[in-house]
């Protein structure tokens, strides 16, 4: 029940939030006055548009500042998940590196980035996000974690090495609104029966 609620929350948020590149078009506070002009179709930044250089970075901010995650960031933007992932969370994000995306068959990423494939892309990315902070020291071999979309992932812990659905967890990066596990493969939900 609870999980369904979160799916609804995320989907609902996505439906209403217009895409804005992270920070690049965010309104600067100093320019916000009572007399700003009206534009015909204003592009409204969601929570990702908040200008905040002081706080610890959120999961989006961490990904954006990582040179190894440019493909992921591009995908998150194309899937219009930037605002949702800038939310209070908390999230556990499995973040495939550029190399992980490069392992996919040629043309896969490009094919998913087109507007018509937005929903499919969202489903894939949402399989990499869980609501809740699952700390590395608490992960156990065989533990299952329910993702925002697509069901559960399975954690592996063997000889001090951690995996998720077989993908290796390469690094752990804390963020203000959760934790990021850097992984070396894109993971996919099992096909529906």
């Amino acid at each position: 029940m609870k999980k369904n609620v979160f799916r609804l929350l995320l989907t609902g948020a996505l439906a209403t939030i217009l895409f804005v590149a992270c920070n690049s078009e965010g309104t600067k506070e100093g320019e916000q006055t009572a007399t700003t002009e009206q534009t015909a179709a204003p592009v409204v930044a969601g929570q990702s548009g908040v200008v905040d250089d002081l706080s610890q970075k959120n999961v989006v901010g961490v990904a954006v500042s990582s040179p190894d995650h440019t493909t992921l960031v591009t995908a998150v933007k194309a899937a219009e998940l930037v605002d949702a992932l800038s939310n209070a969370g908390p999230f556990t994000v499995f973040a495939p590196t550029n190399a992980a995306f490069a392992k996919l068959p040629a043309g896969t990423v490009e094919g998913l980035l087109v507007p018509e494939k937005k929903e499919a892309l969202q489903e894939i990315l949402q399989y990499h996000v869980s609501v809740g902070v699952y700390k590395l020291e608490n992960l156990k071999d065989g533990q299952q974690i329910d993702e925002v979309f697509g069901g559960k992932v399975t954690i592996g812990v063997k000889d001090g090495k951690y995996t998720v659905n077989g993908a290796n967890i390469l690094a752990t990066v804390p963020a203000s609104n959760g934790v990021i596990y850097v992984i070396d493969q894109v993971i996919f939900a099992p096909a529906k029966k």
């Binding site: 009206q38 908390p90 609501v131 809740g132 608490n138 071999d141 533990q143």
Partner: protein, 661 residues
């Protein structure tokens, strides 16, 4: 009594002769008013408006022109919304020489100034009832300091600031016998009762307050005050009433004399005198409470002994100026040349000239002495009178164009008049019975102008009715044109007295967004989950707890016993803007805590029964906020249950990988 009735009759007669019938609200608001107060979603207001919360004891912050309530800053009253005065760290802020006092009556607001301009660093406010002055830090919008004023009762003529915030001045409404001579007959008022004016020194860097001395004044009721500006920089001007020195039925007995006084005091000379002379030291006790943003805790120190000087010994420093009929407001114009007194029972508004006052002093144009103080001849100090301004003039503020705006209580209107020619330019009704008013920057040497807000005393039918108790009404005016234009009407908290407003740009960019955890010097700070622990010392239990989205550490505690006192010190580990966590324990005889990121706050809880007691986060912090909870087990005194604590024992999890197929 007869005089009084005559006065009322005369008042009514003038009212019918000179006042138009107030228009209804629908008539006074013009077509484009809505667009002038509309601040689009995501846009900011132009100014911060700090509005006294009156008998709520708090300070409200509105944005103008939208009149959106941005914040209520707890000052003198406990505030369950965020634990102010309930947490162990903030309880000392409400300490006084009378002990812990959870309430006061907050009347006046004074933004700190540099060179006569609002500088956006602090705002000072007064507690009227148990006399105190508070300083609020405008980087955190929190009360940073409260100092009690000894030998003061009814701290109404307070707080008023010099042009560089050198001093906050606080004068008494009630005269009383002073410490050392307290137990006297009330009927001995004239001999034994005294008023005082406290000089509160403000440290220019830290803002910290101290009371180097008080001036003991004749037993008048000091009402309001303003410092001089520019040429009158060295002076303060006070209004006072009850120069009759009555101690009963002041409604009648304090309205006998045709004139009371404006008191002009040279604070610079008094400061020098106080440095050169010892004065009398009384045994008065007073509390000084300071909140520290590093320890996230307040300390309260009771000081003893205050230096006093008698007004009569301060030769050439204090003068009385006759002023018609119980003056209320006493306001200095932006140039510092004109002092406007609102004689609330007077038919005119007298405007005094500072340069004439100086000449009168030089030329000894005195009437006589009163209570040992020279009385300057009225005409010698007077610049002129505003004739027939309206009824019941109270307070005056100024714009940037040489105009004054006076509130009229009896005739419920704002009257705009020109300072030079004293002619009335415009009058607009307010709804109803206007008390204070304020213009943005209206107390400074260079007012911002543009907006005026009228704070009314009577609300009646202004809003949807809410039973017998109504909020107070305020009305916003655009004063940029020749005529004032009412823009909107909004309810306020408590009963606003004075308010001030300042350009948003002077404050908004300096805001603290969260406290750095590495700077946290709280004695019980817990800077990481691994450091969280529970320590027993006799029957005292200290819980070193942390919180972060979305759990407390520890969240299971056993081994607490009946008879223990539990101090739950919660450190918020978040380092993210606007992510406070709340904390509440079932049955705790207190309010919640609301812990800002990087801060430590303590809830004291004395278990009163055996059982398992839940606690939880009260602030919807995250998607898993509703999961943010814990349990404490309370056992009988002497129980063998060991003191243990934990977070995230996964032994009860569902078997790993069992449900994959």
């Amino acid at each position: 009594m007869k005089n009084y009735i005559n006065y009322v009759a005369a008042t009514l007669a003038i009212a019918t002769l000179t006042q138009c019938k107030p228009k209804s609200a629908s008539q006074v608001v013009t077509g484009d008013a809505a667009s002038k107060v509309y601040v689009a979603p995501g846009k900011y207001d132009e100014v911060y408006n700090f509005v006294s919360g009156g008998f709520s004891g708090q300070l409200a912050v509105y944005g103008l022109p939208s009149a959106r309530l941005l914040r209520v800053i707890p000052v003198f009253s406990q505030n369950p919304e965020n634990g102010w005065g309930y947490s162990e760290e903030t309880k000392p802020m409400l300490n006084t020489s009378h002990g812990f006092i959870p309430w006061d009556d907050l009347h006046h607001v004074a933004l700190s100034q540099t060179a006569g301009l609002d500088d956006g660093r602090w705002v000072f406010v007064n507690g009227n009832n148990t006399p105190r002055v508070a300083r609020i830090d405008l980087k955190t919008f929190r009360t940073a300091e409260i100092i009690e004023l000894p030998n003061s009762s009814g701290n109404h003529s307070s707080p008023f600031l010099t042009e560089n915030s050198e001093y906050v001045i606080a004068g008494t409404r009630f005269s009383t016998p002073l410490d050392g001579n307290n137990d006297v007959a009330i009927s001995s008022y004239k001999e034994n009762f005294k008023g005082t004016i406290s000089f509160i020194k403000v440290d220019p860097t830290s803002g910290n307050m101290s009371v180097p001395f008080q001036v003991v004044m004749p037993p008048f009721n000091f009402d309001l005050s303003r410092a001089g500006k520019g040429p009158s920089h060295d002076w303060f001007f006070f209004s006072c009433y009850n120069t009759e020195q009555a101690n009963t039925l002041l409604e009648v007995n304090a309205s006998q004399r045709d004139k009371d006084f404006v008191v002009a005091i040279n604070w610079k000379k008094i400061e020098e005198y106080a440095k050169a002379n010892k004065g009398r030291v009384t045994t008065s006790k007073y509390a000084h409470n300071v909140y520290d943003d590093k320890t996230h805790s307040a300390t309260s120190t009771i000081s003893e002994g205050i230096v006093q000087f008698d007004a009569a010994e301060l030769k050439d420093m204090i003068y009385l100026i006759p002023c018609p009929k119980s003056p209320h407001g006493c306001d200095t114009d932006p140039t510092g040349e004109y002092i406007v007194a609102g004689g609330k029972l007077a038919a005119t508004i007298p405007v005094f000239s500072f340069s004439k006052i100086l000449k009168a002093i030089e030329g000894k144009q005195f009437d006589t002495e009163f209570a040992g103080l020279p009385v300057i001849k009225y005409e010698a100090a007077l610049y002129g009178e505003v004739p027939k301004p309206g009824l019941g003039p109270l307070h005056t503020e100024f714009d940037d164009k040489g105009n004054a705006y006076t509130s009229m209580f009896v005739s419920s209107e704002v009257v705009k008049w020109n300072i030079k020619d004293l002619k009335v330019i415009d009058r607009k009704p307010t709804f109803y019975s206007l008390g204070h008013l304020m213009v943005v920057g209206g107390g400074t040497a260079h007012p911002y102008g543009k907006y005026l807000v009228a704070y009314n005393k009577i609300t009646k039918d202004r809003y949807l009715p809410t039973g017998p108790e109504l909020s107070q009404s305020a009305q916003l005016f655009d004063i940029s044109g020749e005529k004032m234009e009412m823009l909107s009407d909004f309810p306020t908290i408590g009963e606003p007295h004075y308010a001030q407003a300042i350009e948003a740009s002077k404050i908004k960019d300096g805001q603290v967004r969260f406290f750095k955890i590495e700077d946290n010097k709280h004695q019980y700070a817990t800077k990481g989950e691994k450091e969280s622990k529970v320590v027993r010392t006799g029957n005292r239990i200290d819980v070193y707890a942390t919180c972060i989205r979305s759990h407390f550490s520890p969240d299971n505690i056993e081994g607490i016993q009946l008879g223990d006192e539990v101090y739950f010190h919660v450190t918020n580990l978040e380092q993210d803007w606007d992510v406070p966590h709340g904390f509440a324990i079932k049955g705790a005889n207190a309010a919640e805590l609301l812990v800002m990121p990087g801060e430590t706050s303590t809830l004291k809880w004395t278990p009163d029964r055996i059982g398992v007691i839940p606690f939880y986060c009260t602030d919807f912090c995250s998607a898993l906020h509703q999961e943010m909870q814990g349990y404490m087990r309370v056992s009988p005194k002497g129980s063998s249950v060991k003191l243990v604590w934990s977070l995230g024992d996964f032994s009860s999890d569902a078997p790993a990988a069992a449900a994959t197929k």
